[in-house]
């Protein structure tokens, strides 16, 4: 079974530039999550999709971050404009259902460096 795919794996941009990350979840997984993981910390949920609808985006900085999940499969996360504090690893995860009884499978992440 193929895992969660993410691209790019690494990205370096200057502050005030824009960047986009792509995620392809495990086939058949209805729920997709985007996390931000700052070095030395645990992952922080940014947004949770159930199929193509948003379940929770309470921690997404909506003035600069946006995300969409087209047709309930792939998802993109965009940052515009980027700030220095956005430097982090952005992890995408998916689960079969959106319940707490469903384990989340993480992708390899995109390491973003903002200079």
């Amino acid at each position: 079974e193929a895992g969660v795919a993410q691209s790019p794996r690494y990205k370096i941009i200057e502050k005030r530039q824009s960047v986009a990350f792509w995620c392809n979840p495990i086939s058949g997984h209805a729920t997709l999550y985007w996390y931000q993981q700052i070095l030395g910390q645990g992952p922080k949920l940014l947004i949770q999709f159930q199929n193509n609808g948003v379940v929770d985006d309470s921690q997404l900085p909506k003035d600069r971050f946006s995300a969409e999940r087209l047709k309930g499969v792939d998802s993109t996360l965009k940052i515009q404009p980027a700030k220095l504090e956005d430097s982090a690893v952005y992890l995408c995860a998916s689960s079969f259902t959106g319940t707490g009884a469903s384990e989340q499978y993480f992708g390899p992440g995109t390491r973003l460096t903002v200079t």
């Binding site: 910390q41 645990g42 992952p43 379940v55 707490g100 009884a101 469903s102």
Partner: protein, 112 residues
């Protein structure tokens, strides 16, 4: 609110045991445990649900005290491959299903 993990770091020799704790101030529906090796994605270890149900790997054991909102992960007869950072993720009652809040992590190092 972020759960609190303890200890922050632990160093073991192969074969020794360790316990990692996770405590929340919120009423919980479930606790998830993940291990992350340096530069890699977190990997699922176990889910503990309110009511006592557990899902996870056979060689990993954990407990969930619903009254205290605390969970412990038990690593016995540690192997070199157990090294990594362990995170607990808590699902709070009354929030979106599947929404996890992760602790700050516990760094486990196993030496030969």
């Amino acid at each position: 609110q972020q759960p609190v993990q303890s200890p922050q770091a632990v160093i073991l020799r192969e074969g020794e045991d360790a316990v990692i704790n996770c405590s929340s101030s919120k009423a919980l529906y479930s606790v998830h445990w993940y291990r992350q090796k340096h530069g890699e994605a977190p990997v699922f270890l176990m889910i503990l649900l309110k009511g006592g149900e557990q899902k996870g790997h056979e060689k990993i054991s954990a407990s969930f005290n619903e009254k205290k909102q605390q969970s412990s992960l038990y690593l016995t007869a540690s192997q070199l491959s157990y090294s990594g950072t362990y995170f607990c993720g808590t699902e709070e009652r009354g929030t979106s299903y599947g929404k996890l809040t992760f602790g700050q992590g516990t760094i486990l190092t196993v030496h030969p």
